[in-house]
Symmetry: C2
Subunit: 327 residues, 2 copies
């Protein structure tokens, strides 16, 4: 046992205050069981001694640690920070602490993170998890799990449903006279990508548009940049990107080739995380990632108290936000 500096325990307080250890414990956790005077006296003594309850010991004894874990594929992707922030705030409101994990889009790293967290949290929130479904189900048996943008039956999940925004976008483009459109994909294992792609596909079909799907394995500026040749070669007049970051890359690639937007080519992003930062300001699909974060935490609380209703599935609707990259 390594002694920490300034470790004053419940026993020392008890002795100094002339009461039993349990009374000290109660003074902090169940003051209503004690005389206001005793509570006051104990707290006073605790204060002068600099006593601070030992979180770990309490957790061991109660089996509760008031910790949550949140794992995201990439903290630096602008989609996640607002979500993280909202989750933090919601956790904070209930005196929960949150571990943050960055899986770097790597399933095995995500797995390691879960393993490292699971023993010291009450529940885990996995955003855009890249884990195999079976694995998620296994973990869900050990601790409550809430998913964001991943649809696994039996696990509470909140999904940002970009499909109606995408549908809206395709219709909008059809009305404007576009005939052949491109969809530039995101991460292959991503639920969001599948859902967006299929929404585009379906809507394009209904609107009688020709669709070129341009594969891209990740969401990044570079992925968008390098997709430009292909979407141009395919003869499309507009690209719908998996997300804003990718769309930004496309914009840059277009500019490099001297193609003006939206006159020479149109671009649509998704998630609305760049605001009007791009030039021209990007037409995109709204996202509400921070709502998703807050909602996930409250689903977690539900899961933490009632053992029932495991199959919550929240769909957050989205819509087209028209700015200036579409014509």
């Amino acid at each position: 046992m390594i002694k920490r500096r300034g470790t004053v325990t419940i026993s020392q307080v008890a002795q100094a205050a002339g009461v039993n250890r349990s009374s000290v414990s109660r003074a902090f956790t169940k003051p209503y069981m004690l005389t206001p005077e005793t509570v006051a006296r104990i707290k006073a003594v605790a204060d002068t001694l600099g006593y601070v309850p030992n979180h770990t010991a309490r957790a061991l004894s109660t089996g509760r640690n008031s910790n949550l874990a949140l794992i995201v594929p990439d903290v630096a992707n602008p989609f996640f920070p607002p979500m993280i922030r909202a989750a933090q705030d919601a956790a904070d409101a209930q005196d929960y602490c949150v571990f943050l994990g960055n899986s770097n889009e790597d399933p095995s790293k995500e797995d390691r993170l879960v393993g490292r967290f699971i023993g010291q949290v009450e529940g885990l929130i996995l955003a855009s998890s890249r884990l195999p479904e079976k694995r998620i189900l296994d973990y869900a048996e050990q601790r409550p799990i809430v998913l964001i943008n991943r649809d696994v039956a039996g696990v509470p999940r909140v999904l940002i449903d970009s499909s109606n925004g995408m549908t809206e976008a395709v219709r909008f483009l059809a009305e404007r006279g576009h005939k052949k459109i491109a969809y530039v994909s995101g991460p292959s294992g991503s639920w969001s990508n599948k859902s967006r792609r299929s929404a585009v596909r379906k809507a394009a079909q209904q609107a009688g548009l020709e669709l070129y799907v341009c594969p891209a394995q990740v969401s990044s500026f570079e992925a968008g940049l390098s997709a430009v040749d292909r979407i141009l070669d395919a003869g499309t007049t507009v690209a719908i990107a998996f997300d804003d970051v990718t769309a930004h890359g496309i914009l840059a690639g277009l500019e490099q080739r001297g193609i003006t937007v939206p006159d020479g080519f149109s671009v649509v992003g998704c998630d609305d995380v760049l605001g009007d930062l791009t030039h021209p300001p990007l037409t995109t699909i709204s996202s509400r990632s921070s709502e998703a974060g807050g909602l996930a935490v409250s689903l977690m609380y539900d899961a933490l108290r009632s053992v029932g209703l495991k199959d919550a599935r929240y769909l957050l609707q989205t819509e087209l936000v028209v700015r200036q990259t579409t014509k």
Copy 2:
């Protein structure tokens, strides 16, 4: 005591394997003390039983928990995610878990977060802390603390020194013929802001430039936006902003007023977090926030093992990155 599902303890494994609890403990923490055969047997049994060491119990017993806390003023500010990511990675490499806290620029909230974390981490990293110096010193007595962009003697700290970048910027502007420049401030309690402002002040004086300091309390798009009238009224021809986010707001305000950049007015940001996302691409000061994050973690490791050398003070140098918002 609330029983967790699937809680299999060291005792059950011991019994099933026909050994003492201590042997099971050793099999996991000090296998070299046991016969390879016993270790193998114990691990096999543990495996079939689904035993997983209880992190909390171990922490209580050893006094070590392999956890770190990282507190930032605003996760959603693009300056921090790369830093968080780097810190995560560095922690990860040593099997440490990291709690993330978002103080929302509020000293009292930051204080509460520290209090909530301190009992369950080995050390804390405070980025751009808004806490009173005295408070930081107090906490530092309880647990190792590493500061980022906050300069408190006696506490290990890594500082991104934007002052030479700022100096370079001012000289650059002077050479280009600017006579009167503006500095648009950031958060008042921020070390970075003070350091940047004084660098600008000094360099302006040396270069014989007139300086107008425009107060702004926070780093935000809006802060930049609302500063535009004042910097224009002051008769300046260029604004150096506290950071890129603020600079972006200035750019937007200028555009609203029909002023073209850089012909009608020049703008310089700081931190280089927006890349060439703005229009025109922003001239700025490099930052290296991710290096700062990684360095902070390694300073933390140092502090965690050796009790000595408390007064580490790392300065990360920066430089001017000229893009297209300056003339």
